[in-house]
């Protein structure tokens, strides 16, 4: 395995022995997994732009891809050198299925995880933010809670509405299960009128998200790291034969 800090020596060298570089380049969609040995104890997952699922969005959209994030979470779970995960969110939402998949993966991660909402954690970003063991929101960050709308082909039958309602229910259930916000107050925010210019719903800012119980604390990277370190400290005695060391 290559050592990251010495790039000049082996620039361009690949891990695979027999495959050529060209083959490597052609293998589109392959993802890197955090490797053993020189890993940081805390890994950081940044979720920015649109969360992309089944459909690749046009290139002017900045996206976080499902096929990148899921293997990374699996690798973080498996790599014994990684002790904690910091999730940084600045997302405008995206695909419901992909967002919920990421949120479920984070919620079931056996290692401590802390999320911070910086800038924005809107729509499907809400379940991801609450999925971690502890969640922070920057004082100026906002989260928009609004109903799910159907894009694309919509057939005007009652089943369409029911389908939409079920999708929405999945989001509401997840958020209420993983945070202290009640279903009632979350729905109130979701269907509030007069707050958003183009939609019904509510835009909660920093401390407001904490007040309603959706997010645990107002804070930034410092607080989040401290929290994560304390979670890791609590968990450490359980890991047999682990030598004590300072965290990065």
């Amino acid at each position: 395995m290559d050592n990251a800090p010495l790039p000049n020596e082996n620039e361009g060298k690949q891990e695979g022995k027999n495959s050529t570089l060209i083959e490597k380049i052609q293998q589109l969609g392959a993802t890197n997994v955090p490797q053993l040995s020189q890993d940081s104890k805390i890994h950081c997952l940044t979720i920015i732009g649109q969360i992309e699922g089944h459909m690749q969005l046009p290139p002017q959209n900045k996206t976080t891809k499902y096929e990148h994030v899921i293997p990374q979470i699996v690798a973080i779970e498996q790599n014994p050198n990684i002790e904690g995960l910091l999730v940084i969110l600045n997302t405008v939402g995206g695909d419901v299925e992909a967002g919920l998949a990421i949120a479920e993966m984070l919620a079931s991660l056996s290692k401590p995880s802390v999320s911070i909402v910086l800038g924005g954690g809107h729509s499907i970003g809400v379940p991801i933010a609450v999925s971690c063991d502890h969640s922070y929101i920057a004082e100026t960050a906002t989260m928009t809670i609004h109903p799910i709308r159907l894009t694309g082909l919509v057939i005007g039958v009652p089943q369409t509405f029911e389908y939409l309602d079920k999708m929405q229910e999945r989001v509401i259930k997840f958020v209420t299960r993983h945070s202290n916000v009640t279903e009632e107050s979350f729905k109130d925010l979701m269907f509030a009128k007069g707050n958003l210019t183009r939609d019904i719903g509510t835009n909660v800012i920093g401390a407001e998200a904490v007040e309603i119980g959706m997010i645990d604390d107002v804070g930034g990277v410092g607080q989040a790291m401290r929290k994560l370190n304390s979670f890791m400290e609590e968990r450490r005695p359980k890991i047999a034969g682990e030598e004590e060391g300072l965290l990065q």
Binding site: M1, D2, A4, P5, P7, N8, N10, E11, G12, K13, E15, T20, L21, K24, I25, L28, G29, A30, T31, N32, P34, Q35, Q38, D39, S40, H43, C44, L45, Q50, G53, H54, L57, P58, P59, Q60, N61, H68, Q72, A75, L85, V92, G93, G94, D95, V96, E97, G120, H122, S123, I124, H146, I148, L150, T151, G152, L164, M167, V171, R198, D199
Partner: protein, 75 residues
Amino acid sequence: MTLYTIVPEEIIFPHHHEKTANLIEMIYNGVHVMVEHDGGRTFRIDRIVSTDPEDYMNVHIQPGAVINVFEHMNH
């Protein structure tokens, strides 16, 4: 597919498609990166796809850095 986002649909899917940035994914020096081919023998790093914070500190793969992946191929 259901999108749950604050971005209006017409912004996500514009009617006129601008030229597509041709991004290629590759593992460079053990780090998963997305690169843009400049047509020659070099690639320009567009973004790093990694959860290891150390990878983002590596000056040789900062976004915008030009890398030559063919350097070692003729040896």
